[in-house]
């Protein structure tokens, strides 16, 4: 059986899964996207391990020029900056495989709703981001005093949804420009700011040991959910115009 034959039916869902599987098969064979993302994440983590002062307790205060911050704040900030940059490295590459040899033209002419193309690419990008996080968070937990409970996992997945939804959309947009590697961060950063601020605030609270219920009832959680919803809806509705 072919590695990319359709799983089950040939409806919208079957074709979408088929395209997502195609991307994963290509990545498994080529290893073009995930290794650079992982190497970048490891490099930032190791750099941080040598840079931070005593981080034995998340509540330790670090003096900064503008005031003080807890170790938890700094770690949460660094972990999400790492995810953000590693993600953009991966997203920027996600449409390269379609551009090469004009596969995008062939893809645009298949009878599948554009939302299927979008979802397939988003699922692949989500898989890459989750793979990076499965590597990054345990490494952080080994090097720094942070706990990885169910609350952290839930927040991470919610952040990923918003990140991938808008990152995939802008990656498709940037792929049509000459300076696509430069364009993606320029386009995506301003839009992603609310999601990543919420991510830092929520994970910082969790790293400090606050109960998940208290963290979830905070305003940032609502903001994260709202932006996730907006990004997913905007991504699905506008992808057709972007890709065509």
């Amino acid at each position: 059986m072919s590695a990319v034959s359709a799983p089950g039916g040939r409806g919208w869902a079957g074709k979408t899964l088929l395209l997502a599987r195609k991307d994963l098969v290509i990545e498994v064979r080529g290893r073009d996207t995930l290794p650079p993302m992982l190497v970048f994440s490891l490099a930032v983590t190791l750099l941080l391990a040598f840079t931070l002062p005593d981080t034995s307790r998340p509540s330790t205060r670090i003096v900064l020029p503008a005031g003080t911050a807890s170790v938890a704040d700094v770690l949460a900030g660094f972990i999400w900056v790492t995810v953000l940059f590693a993600g953009l490295v991966g997203f920027a590459r996600s449409f390269e495989v379609e551009r090469h040899e004009g596969a995008i033209d062939a893809l645009l002419l298949v009878p599948l709703d554009r939302s299927g193309l979008y979802l397939a690419k988003a699922m692949t990008n989500l898989a890459f981001i989750v793979a990076v996080e499965l590597f990054l968070f345990p490494v952080f937990a080994v090097l720094f005093p942070i706990g990885l409970g169910a609350g952290v996992v839930a927040i991470v997945l919610l952040v990923d949804v918003g990140f991938v939804a808008i990152g995939t959309l802008f990656a498709a947009l940037a792929a049509q420009t000459r300076s696509r590697e430069l364009m993606l961060p320029v386009l995506a950063f301003p839009v992603l700011v609310p999601v990543f601020i919420a991510a830092v605030e929520l994970t910082s609270d969790l790293f400090l040991g606050r109960p998940t219920r208290a963290v979830v009832s905070a305003g940032w959680f609502g903001i994260l959910l709202a932006f996730d919803l907006i990004y997913v809806v905007v991504g699905a509705l506008t992808f057709e115009f972007v890709i065509e």
Binding site: S2, K15, K22, V25, G30, A103, D105, L109, P111, E240
Partner: protein, 218 residues
Amino acid sequence: MIALEGVRVTYRRTVALHSIDLLLLPGVTGLFGPNGSGKSTLLRVLAGLLRPGGGTVTWDGVPLNISDEAFRSRVGYAGHGSGLYDRLSVRENLRLFGALHGVRDARVEEMLELVGLQDRGGWPAGELSAGLRRRAAVARALLHEPQLLLLDEPYANLDDDGAGKVSDAIKAWRTPGRTGLVATHGAKRVKGYADAAIILQHGRIVSYRVRTPAEAPT
């Protein structure tokens, strides 16, 4: 029947197509012209991949719209690139596009044989020579037996044997009611089966000739 009225395409300051008026009849039409004459642009407009800056394109009276899934399922297009994924084998590529078009795997094998790639089906598309890749691209475009076939330089990099196989595949596809437009520099390649010929120059149609019944290809 496909009708173009006043179709104009401009790339920045370069006009690629100057107000084209054309009635494309069923059958295969050869599209000729020097480099930069607008052949590829015209094919992309007809495939819906390029929105003209002016004018209209209709197919049986309906405006051409790439957002329409029914339209997409009726079009077969092979552009300059092969449209194949390098890391997938030729067979996997064809099965992928076949599945997306609702085509059975048996049809994939049929197409591989038709373009003479049955022994190379397991090769990664990225490892094929330019000529073999071209054949695979034609097979991909023909896979779902489209009503409208648009081929951009299908004979590029092909030897005589390969060119013959591509011609055979196009002839096998050609049935009454179907419309094909084949852009090529090799007029003699399509001479054997084309029903009409268009010559483009500087984005303008300078000649459009339909074969008379007496001249009709076999």
